[in-house]
Symmetry: C2
DNA sequence: AGCCAGTGTGACTGAGCAGTCACTATCCGG
DNA sequence: CCGGATAGTGACTGCTCAGTCACACTGGCT
């Protein structure tokens, strides 16, 4: 939890701090991210950071929570009805919207799923992992109830496969097409162009089509 | 490249060193792996490591290369004919065999695909990444030629999806079923039991079935 | 016995890190 | 203009790390 001082911070100062921290944690995984680098870049004293947050873990957790808030906003506009495949495509479209905004926030979302040596982050990671898996599992169960997913599929298992296609698979397909990778992208962050977003939606449709056929009765 | 001294090492000493290094790099990603910990555990002087290898990168690269040699041996027994799905299942079975041996070596294989801040490892990573992708792409093209994969699928794109299912997806499904995760597994490495291997083959069959249906004409 | 190449050693260097704390500066209400 | 609260500071501690190097040891050969 951030300290009260952080909330009271002048908006522009706060914004500059968040920007620098976001950049650091987007570029580097938790263990390699450096509080020293953040303050050096901002030209402020290291002690200031510890006026705002208890420690590095606290700072990272705040970023993850803030990412959650931003994503929830995007997802708010997302329909919760329709066929399984429509909902899946919609969920994915919300993801695209995130990359079209500030890709660094999207990266924080991925970082929250990365394993760490820091035990206080492990619980958080498992929670997020489980949330994704159970969202997809529920979706597949709905699909079975509505006859869009065949009954001999184990939703708990298939959820992992779906996650594999939509995260690892889709991302690596995307970056292969863009001729860069996740690292390069975040090293020089920019919002993706509409053209690229279209390519991504195209890929997402291919992915969903593969899953639709693969899981159909 | 290891130094000549490493090759001349007495077999048991060499084996003990490799075991300790393997353990360290299986448990920790490259940046967090510690040469100091390796020597502390073995009770040898730090300088010794630098008689065997140029530096930490050199040591890691040797482990990755050694893993490649071991996997090549396993893959040697793998049939290069049959339908796409048979070949895919066979490739996966070779992977299972690896986890049934020493799971730490399997982990090194995954480590070689992880991004690093170390530029000298980036080239290696891209190479491995590309090798996997192009193996799968070639497989899908063969499938199209033989009418097992529908023609409106882009093999270059679908290869990434297949990779997503068979790596991320299958692994996370496996560990969900085993009630542990990759980290816990390597922290207490043991060969998987025949029962677990059967579960893994069952999952692999489900994954291949999903892909078969998803990509079929 | 004497030699020496090959092997092993561990204190040391220089670097980076998270986190602390006595101190200073700034702001705001009275 | 004063005084207390709040915010900011940066040198410092204590830690871990990769990599070095002058030195010591060992075993085989002459």
């Amino acid at each position: 939890m951030p300290r009260p001082t952080f909330d009271r911070l002048a908006p522009d100062k706060r914004a500059r701090f968040v920007d620098a921290a976001l950049d650091e944690f987007a570029r580097h995984r938790f263990a390699e991210a450096s509080v020293s680098r953040i303050v050096a870049r901002l030209g402020i004293a290291k002690g200031s950071v510890y006026q705002y947050f208890d420690d590095k873990v606290d700072l990272f957790r705040w970023l993850v929570a803030e990412h959650g808030r931003r994503r929830a906003e995007l997802a708010g506009a997302m329909p919760a009805e329709g066929t399984v495949w429509e909902r899946l495509a919609a969920a994915y479209r919300a993801g695209v919207a995130e990359w079209q905004g500030d890709p660094r926030w999207a990266r924080i979302g991925l970082r929250s799923l990365e394993p760490t040596d820091e035990p206080r982050l492990e619980a958080l990671r498992r929670e997020h992992q489980a949330a994704v898996a159970s969202f997809l599992e529920a979706l597949l169960r709905q699909g079975q109830a509505e006859g869009q997913v065949r009954d001999d599929v184990d939703p708990a298992v298939a959820a992992h496969f779906v996650q594999g296609v939509l995260t690892t698979g889709l991302l690596s397909a995307l970056f292969a097409r863009l001729d860069t990778d996740l690292e390069g992208w975040v090293a020089a962050p920019r919002a993706i162009t509409e053209r690229e977003a279209a390519a991504l939606r195209d890929l997402a449709d291919q992915a969903v089509e593969l899953l639709r056929r693969g899981l159909a009765p």
